[in-house]
């Protein structure tokens, strides 16, 4: 991975829920410009890892260090349905000390929701909510962006917008971690792939020109090895 001081470093992270161990000894480091794609079956621990990396869950063992601000896109939108898109972003902007309305306009433009800025989120389609959720995460211009299935439920046009956002983040030297099942959409952007098997990071390898099929083949290999 690039850079000297990682923007995000997890060492020996273990997470239990009661007696159930969901993450086992996971260690990763992500620096500016890195794009880590996390691959794994449902229940492999991707979402828990993203939440631990974000600081929303404390690791039961191990440490997570973040050197800069962190944005996160999750399954849930973290938005208020009764507020408009613009009001949602303005609210979060105040929490981050970013009160310039031009920033909200620029973000709405970037995710293709400028004409819908004054509509309540409750009236949005799943894809629009997902795009607004990404704008919310981008608002503080985070050093690290963590995304959990960001392309789920998006139509082709919306997926292109999200891919452009991810490409832009990479270009601007931000660290990106994406947990996804939709490898085809992300694999060409990723620099590294992490294979999650039963809560373990079974492999952390450079993508090195592999396509989605090759990545999945490698995943099956590692999963079979246990």
């Amino acid at each position: 991975m690039q850079g000297t001081e990682p923007a995000l470093r997890a060492e020996g992270v273990k997470r239990r829920f009661g007696h159930r161990v969901v993450l086992r000894d996971v260690s990763i480091a992500v620096s500016g410009g890195d794009f880590l794609m996390l691959v794994g079956h449902n229940g492999a621990g991707k979402t828990t890892l993203i939440r631990v990396l974000a600081g929303l869950l404390k690791p039961s063992e191990g440490t997570v260090r973040r050197s800069g601000s962190t944005g996160m896109v999750a399954h849930s939108s973290m938005l208020y349905d009764a507020l408009t898109a613009r009001e949602n972003l303005a609210f979060y902007g105040r929490l981050y000390g970013k009160t310039d309305p031009a920033l909200v306009d620029a973000l709405l433009e970037q995710i293709g929701l400028a004409p819908h800025g004054d509509r309540r989120v409750a009236t949005f389609s799943r894809g629009m909510v997902q795009r607004l959720s990404i704008a919310r995460a981008l608002l503080p211009d985070p050093e690290v962006l963590l995304l959990d299935e960001p392309l789920t439920g998006l139509d082709e046009a919306a997926a292109v917008i999200v891919r452009n956002v991810l490409r832009d983040l990479k270009r601007r030297n931000r660290a990106v971690v994406v947990a996804t099942h939709q490898l085809v959409e992300v694999v060409d952007l990723a620099s590294t792939v992490g294979f999650m098997v039963d809560g373990r990071l079974a492999g952390l390898e450079p993508v090195a020109g592999r396509d989605a099929h090759a990545v999945m083949a490698r995943y099956r290999e590692l999963a079979a090895d246990g």
């Binding site: 996160m72 973290m78 208020y80 009764a82 929490l95 981050y96 503080p140």
Partner: protein, 226 residues
């Protein structure tokens, strides 16, 4: 400090805006308040029980239970789309979230009380113009105490399966001291007793305000752990 209050006020303003738009909790609280006042009014035999004997109890039963409907709603707003996660990711002190929620709840309960009070006066035909400042003072003091505890407990129960049932069960024991104090003071104020007669209960109510607000402020962060 600036960002603490900016965040707290932003959260309170956001909650009030959402309640203003949806009126979900306000409508149910007002219907409840009118219903309770009417039931107490019709249950009383005016030839046997004087209005002043039943009015303080009726007032505080109305305020307490109507307020609970709003307190329940406060953190449900944050759990609907897991917006609480976004608040926790923001660079703000967890106690700013508590203060914001506390202020939002205080405003909600204050409005419910302001609308219910004239109805109470109307139902019980009480001439309270002279006693109004003292009565308002007591209402404000008791409200601060139970809203502080209600805000803390509502953040605790929001992740439980029966949050709406759990809040009253947990909250009611804590409400006994301030509500008993408030009933005693209201009774004395409505009877036109001198201020010196109120001192003991006022000190007690003030103590509960300080203890509850300070304790809840410091305990709030512990309620956020998953």
């Amino acid at each position: 400090m600036g960002s603490f209050w900016t965040a707290a006020l932003a959260i309170a303003a956001k909650d009030m805006k959402i309640e203003w738009r949806t009126k979900t909790a306000f409508a149910s609280a007002m219907v409840f308040a009118v219903l309770v006042l009417a039931v107490f009014y019709f249950a009383r035999d005016p030839t046997a029980v004087g209005a002043i004997e039943i009015a303080p109890g009726a007032l505080w039963v109305t305020f307490t239970f109507a307020a609970m409907l709003g307190l329940n709603r406060a953190f449900m707003l944050e759990s609907e789309n897991r917006a609480m996660d976004a608040l926790l990711l923001a660079p703000i002190a967890p106690s700013a979230i508590f203060v914001g929620k506390f202020l939002g709840n205080l405003a909600f309960v204050g409005v419910v009380e302001l609308v219910s009070l004239p109805l109470f006066v109307l139902f019980y035909n009480l001439p309270i113009i002279e006693q109004l400042p003292a009565l308002m003072g007591v209402i404000a003091m008791a409200t601060v105490a139970f809203v502080a505890v209600g805000t803390l407990l509502s953040s605790m129960v929001v992740r439980t399966r029966f949050a709406e049932l759990m809040l009253p069960i947990l909250l009611l024991p804590f409400l006994i001291p301030p509500v008993v104090g408030a009933v005693q003071l209201t009774s004395r104020i409505l009877s036109g007793r001198p201020l010196s007669d109120l001192a003991g209960w006022l000190k007690l109510l003030a103590s509960f305000d300080i203890i509850f607000v300070v304790l809840c402020f410091f305990l709030f962060e512990a309620t956020l752990d998953e």
